[in-house]
């Protein structure tokens, strides 16, 4: 006869294994969701880029181009923002640690391309939109490397909530991404959090909402 203890241990082990398996499945699911959304983001950006080239090749009306691009790019930027938050949230919920940094890197490159298109929208189409490049400490979930970064992120949220024509593009400070290193050098970024507002005004260290708002033309979301 199999002892009570053996059966109990087996039952206990099965329950724990089932829990670990659920955790693992959830981890996999998270990666799937993010991969899918990143793919979606790639396609939409490719779509916009090619369409823009097409319009230019047709020597069409600049205004018409701008109107079309305005819709697409602003929608994509909003989605990218959600995706960035999702990646960070999922990274925190993760148990078995797949390589989130690789995902983050891929996202940063795509986000930067989106930023270039956005910049074009402001510079060439004279659209009344603002961009803030925000340098933060990467992979710092409990804000021990950059204690002010969490606060700065919250402040930026408040600014965005008020000035609906402003978007934030976050770049990780002091990582192995050459592109970002060049920009850090360009604006002489020494510490985080740091902000570059509309390519002109640079702030280093924690910056309050009203200070930020002095440098932007606070307004409504052009799509609304």
């Amino acid at each position: 006869m199999v002892s009570v203890y053996v059966k109990g241990l087996v039952l206990g082990a099965l329950l724990i294994i089932a829990s670990m398996a659920s955790l693992w499945i959830l981890d996999k699911q998270r990666i799937n969701v993010i991969s899918e959304q990143m793919q979606q983001m790639s396609w939409e950006m490719e779509d916009s880029r090619l369409f823009l080239n097409y319009l230019e090749s047709m020597h069409g009306d600049k205004n018409a181009q701008c109107t079309i691009m305005k819709h697409r790019i602003i929608q994509q930027v909003e989605k990218a923002d959600m995706l960035a938050r999702k990646i960070d949230a999922y990274r925190n919920s993760n148990v078995f640690s797949p390589d989130y940094y690789a995902i983050k890197k891929t996202f940063i490159y795509k986000d930067f391309e989106l930023f270039l298109q956005f910049k074009k929208l402001r510079d060439e189409c004279n659209e009344s939109v603002n961009y803030i490049i925000y340098f933060y400490a990467e992979n710092d979930p409990d804000h021990s490397a950059c204690p002010d970064c969490g606060v700065q992120a919250s402040i930026l949220d408040t600014v965005r909530n008020k000035c609906r024509n402003t978007w934030v593009f976050a770049l990780p400070y002091n990582t192995d991404i050459d592109l970002v290193k060049v920009i850090e050098k360009q604006y002489n970024i020494q510490k985080v959090p740091a902000l570059v507002i509309n390519g002109e005004r640079v702030y280093q260290g924690l910056t309050e909402a009203d200070e930020i708002e002095k440098n932007i033309d606070c307004g409504e979301n052009p799509l609304e």
């Binding site: 109990g8 659920s22 699911q29 949230a89 969490g150 919250s154 949220d157």
Partner: protein, 430 residues
């Protein structure tokens, strides 16, 4: 300040420090996983033990002579109802009822005097429950002796259902399912579900492993020979009902549990009285554990000594460590940078928090263990309530959920307080 107090506070602080350090330097998920594994495996073993036991009460071959002792101290509110229920219990032989008024000052004696057919003993001043019981025990000549508390209301069939276990001459005591009497407020309703699981599931399954280590005060029937053999009740012990059970286990007596009937007892309805009771229980457990430490990991005492008895202490100790760790993780940010924490709350406009609320994939992973706990303990509750053929009402679901999810924090918190008080040797309060 006494040396014991200082030493106790020091040891407790070291313990807390060790727990915090554990959670700071190791990945907390591994600690949660290991402790969950231990808790779940313990429950799984007891669950299997219960499933393999026949929970039907044995039919009594004979009906031994019985004395019921009712110690009463300032029980004027409850003694009449208690005695009415006791005298209404069915039993083919006439059983003696001896009520001891242990120096009551609230008119308990006057209430007891109203009853006929009972023996009343009156102590001039309060001597304590164990002393009172032992005093009467000397005169008990019946084969069985029962202790019923003065705030306990046994069912009519309690004796008939419990006496059959004494067919086995090795049985030294029989316990029973205990439930709160007329639970009214939130605290009492929660305790109702707790008592189902504690006195239903846990006691029945542990007794099937011959490892029951407490004979609860509200109602237990003992074999007189067994009680006398261990020298009666431990005077001055704040949980003499646990001490005598351990003494019986030490001498090799069996302790059985009947779950097909129930007795009702008054339970605390204020937080203050609740914590007072629990601290007394858990301090008593620690004290008795130390007194009987020679049973732990002692092969002579079989599965009781090698597994059940030590494991309850290990589990309780571990749950304290986990509780401290849980608080540590969630307050680390707050402690390290209060400004950051406040700012995060203040600027919470669009934050990730809202994502967390609606996207299950963003929820913290330890929720999986919470679900596991819910399911497992829910099942234990279901099994326990089935003994009583009790079906929960829809309105009781919030209480059940609170019990399953949050109550263990409560208990572990009480246990931590008890650990602290016992370490520093605080004055004992009833």
């Amino acid at each position: 300040m006494r040396l014991r107090t200082v030493a106790g506070v020091l040891v407790f602080s070291l313990f807390v420090f060790f727990s915090i350090a554990l959670f700071t330097y190791f990945n907390p998920y591994w600690i949660f996983t290991i402790s969950s594994t231990i808790f779940v495996t313990q429950a799984a073993i007891f669950l299997v033990a219960l499933e393999e036991t026949d929970t039907k009460d044995p039919k009594p071959k004979r009906y031994p002579s019985l004395t019921i002792i009712v110690p009463a101290y300032n029980a004027a509110d409850t003694i009449e109802k208690s005695l009415r229920h006791i005298l209404a219990m069915e039993y083919p032989k006439k059983f003696k009822v001896i009520v001891i008024d242990d120096g009551s000052t609230d008119g308990t004696y006057e209430k007891i005097k109203k009853f006929k057919g009972i023996t009343i003993i009156r102590n001039k001043k309060n001597m304590g429950k164990a002393v009172s019981l032992n005093k009467v025990l000397k005169k008990v000549k019946t084969e069985l002796v029962a202790n019923i508390d003065s705030d306990t209301y046994p069912s009519k069939d309690a004796l008939m259902k419990m006496v059959g276990y004494f067919n086995d001459p090795k049985v030294g005591a029989v316990t029973v399912l205990i439930l709160p009497s007329k639970p009214r407020n939130f605290l009492q309703k929660i305790q109702e579900f707790e008592y189902y699981v504690a006195f239903g599931f846990w006691h029945k399954s542990i007794s099937s492993l011959r490892s029951l280590y407490v004979t609860p005060g509200p109602m237990t029937i003992y074999r007189t020979k067994a009680v006398k053999e261990v020298g009666g009740f431990d005077e001055g012990n704040i949980t003499e009902d646990m001490e005598i059970a351990l003494a019986l286990q030490e001498k090799g007596w069996k302790i059985e549990c009947c779950v097909n009937t129930k007795v009702y007892t008054e339970v605390p309805h204020t937080l203050r009285s609740y914590f007072r009771q629990r601290i007394r229980w858990y301090r008593g457990k620690i004290f008795n554990g130390l007194k009987y430490k020679h049973l732990i990991f002692n092969k002579f005492y079989g599965q009781f000594g090698m597994f059940v008895f030590p494991v309850t202490f290990i589990v309780e100790f571990l749950s304290m460590v986990v509780l401290i760790g849980f608080i540590t993780i969630n307050s680390k940010r707050f402690i390290l940078d209060a400004k950051q924490f406040i700012a995060t709350i203040m600027h919470n406009a669009f934050r990730v928090e809202f994502l967390m609320n609606i996207d299950p994939l963003a929820w913290p992973p330890y929720l999986v263990f919470l679900v596991l706990t819910l399911l497992l303990w829910g099942y234990l509750l279901y099994v326990s309530m089935r003994f009583d053929r009790r079906k929960p009402k829809i309105t009781e679901i919030p209480y059940i959920l609170f019990y399953l999810i949050l109550y263990s924090f409560f208990i572990t918190f009480s246990y931590t307080m008890s650990f602290f008080h016992e370490l520093k040797g605080s004055r004992k309060v009833w």
